[in-house]
């Protein structure tokens, strides 16, 4: 089991979290302008990196917030976490 450092709540067991897959996949701003291949790229194609991998988690059984985390997919070594939308962990009650 992973020990995940929620940027809002601190280190907690993996079982408190749900996985959101690869991070930084932004929804296209002009969806009607996309070709089928570009849609396939957005919806389905993934980096699936071996090694350092930026992913997103949600603290389902905790604060309920989404955040990003860099993790090594070979060693499971836990890297830096990040937050979405400009919220600063310290600024959030």
């Amino acid at each position: 089991m992973l020990l995940i450092h929620c940027p809002y709540c601190g280190p907690r067991d993996e079982t408190e979290f749900s996985y959101g897959g690869e991070a930084d996949i932004a929804r296209p701003l002009e969806p009607e302008a996309l070709s089928d291949a570009e849609w396939a790229d957005y919806v389905f194609l993934r980096t699936n990196a071996k090694g350092r991998f930026k992913e997103q988690w949600v603290h389902t059984h905790g604060c309920g917030r989404w955040f990003t985390m860099v993790r090594d997919t070979v060693t499971h070594e836990h890297g830096e976490t990040g937050v979405f939308g400009g919220f600063e962990p310290d600024a959030v009650g």
Binding site: T15, Y19, F44, T47, V74
Partner: protein, 416 residues
């Protein structure tokens, strides 16, 4: 190749079994092959075998970074079945099951196929309705499947608990009598021996580190034993498909996850069919050695680490002892993990790629073992003819662009 038979067994017994020939050679790689297969698991070896046996292409190398059958082929729970919902899936998995049924004879190698039946349990009203729909669809495709009542399940599997007091009571099951298990190592070894006999070079401890291309066409591979030129390259690397695709300059719709399996201490015969439950999420069979072979779901996160989390094992053990209270005092002997490449629609990819002469067979998720011969058979056709066989044409990479997905998430039951 020395044929295995009762006579060869008796003859070798007279010399204390010291003179059996090697089942396959260990040649040094040649500088060039017509076809290089990357990955010496069951699917890769089957591909090489059918290239030689069905298409007359024997100037073939199978490159394996470790030892053959040492990846997911040797780590799965050996379940074989073809009871899939969609027509496309039924065609390829049923082709595979039919090849399995003749495989020991074809390969002159006992793969220990045991068609002991596969039970898929239903635990609620929705499960029952879904199962009824699925069984009708399966039978419509000419694949055997039937529905059992709890009493019939109890007769077939006396150790199971059909009490209505369970949190998730057993309300029914579908049964594929032709389903069962086989010896996973033997499948790899049998295909290896058959391929080698037809001239295929099986090269172990040879890791592919690059895919050479020129003008949009594959020209060979870089390996830990040096460059090898190839007219065509087939990549069959469960757990590392995205890594190999990256070497060839494209991405796949695949995420890699750990999947664990485990065995109990050996006990006397208690379970003579395969039991799978989608809702409480566990599957179990008993090996010929007496061990219970147990598996369940993947870890949620992406990983290449070949190990999974303890809480996943705890969950499936809870499910197992609820279904089979008498297993509660058994000890686990071993658990292990493999890396499975999962597709968004829980169906595999057997396809041409953006690179000419480069073919990928991947994305079998948690259920590739049952497909080993059919997958190799269809992939060999795809490589030999440079076009898919009708049986694997629906499993192209293009489906993620066209939207013609083959959604087997629910239909496959847990239950790969």
């Amino acid at each position: 190749m020395q044929r295995y038979s009762i006579i060869s067994l008796a003859r070798n017994a007279l010399t204390g079994h010291r003179n059996w020939p090697q089942a396959w050679r260990s040649p040094a790689p040649k500088l060039e092959y017509d076809v290089v297969i990357v990955g010496g698991g069951g699917h890769g070896l089957a591909t090489a075998y059918y290239l030689a046996a069905e298409h007359g292409i024997s100037n073939v190398a199978v490159l394996e970074k470790g030892w053959i059958g040492g990846g997911n082929t040797g780590r799965n729970t050996t379940i074989i079945r073809s009871n899939y919902l969609w027509d496309e899936s039924a065609a390829i998995y049923e082709k595979s099951l039919q090849l399995y049924e003749g495989l020991s004879r074809e390969l002159n190698f006992n793969i220990m196929l045991s068609q002991r039946g596969v039970l898929n349990l239903a635990h609620n009203e929705h499960d029952l309705k879904e199962m009824s729909r699925r069984v009708r669809a399966i039978r419509g495709n000419g694949v055997d499947s039937e529905i059992l009542s709890p009493a019939e399940i109890k007769k077939l599997v006396p150790a199971i608990n059909i009490s209505r007091e369970l949190r998730y009571p057993i309300l029914g099951a579908s049964l594929q009598r032709r389903g069962g298990v086989a010896r996973h190592d033997a499948v790899a070894w049998g295909f290896a021996r058959g391929a080698d006999d037809r001239g295929v070079d099986i090269i172990q401890n040879c890791e592919v580190t690059g895919i050479d291309r020129q003008g949009g066409r594959v020209t060979g591979v870089q390996t830990s034993l040096g460059p090898i030129a190839a007219g065509k390259v087939g990549v069959v690397v469960a757990g590392h498909a995205s890594v190999l695709a990256d070497m060839a300059g494209f991405r796949l719709p695949i995420d890699s996850h750990p999947l664990q399996a485990m065995v109990s201490e050996p006990i006397k015969p208690v379970l003579d069919c395969v039991v799978m439950s989608n809702a409480v999420h566990v599957y179990v069979s008993q090996s010929d050695k007496g061990e219970l072979v147990i598996g369940a779901g993947i870890d949620s996160f992406n990983s290449y680490a070949q190990r999974g989390s303890w809480h996943v094992i705890e969950g499936q053990m809870g499910a197992l002892v609820e279904l089979f209270p008498i297993f509660s005092r058994l000890r686990l002997m071993r658990s292990w993990g493999g890396i499975v490449d999962t597709c968004p629609d829980a169906s595999p990819i057997l396809s041409k790629t953006p690179v000419d002469g480069l073919y990928f067979n991947c994305g079998w998720g948690t259920g590739g073992f049952k497909a080993t011969p059919g997958s190799g058979w269809a992939f060999a056709h795809t490589i030999a003819r440079d076009e898919p066989h009708p049986i694997n044409a629906p499993f192209s990479l293009d489906r993620f662009t066209t939207g013609a997905l083959i959604d087997e998430h629910g239909a496959a039951a847990v239950a790969h």
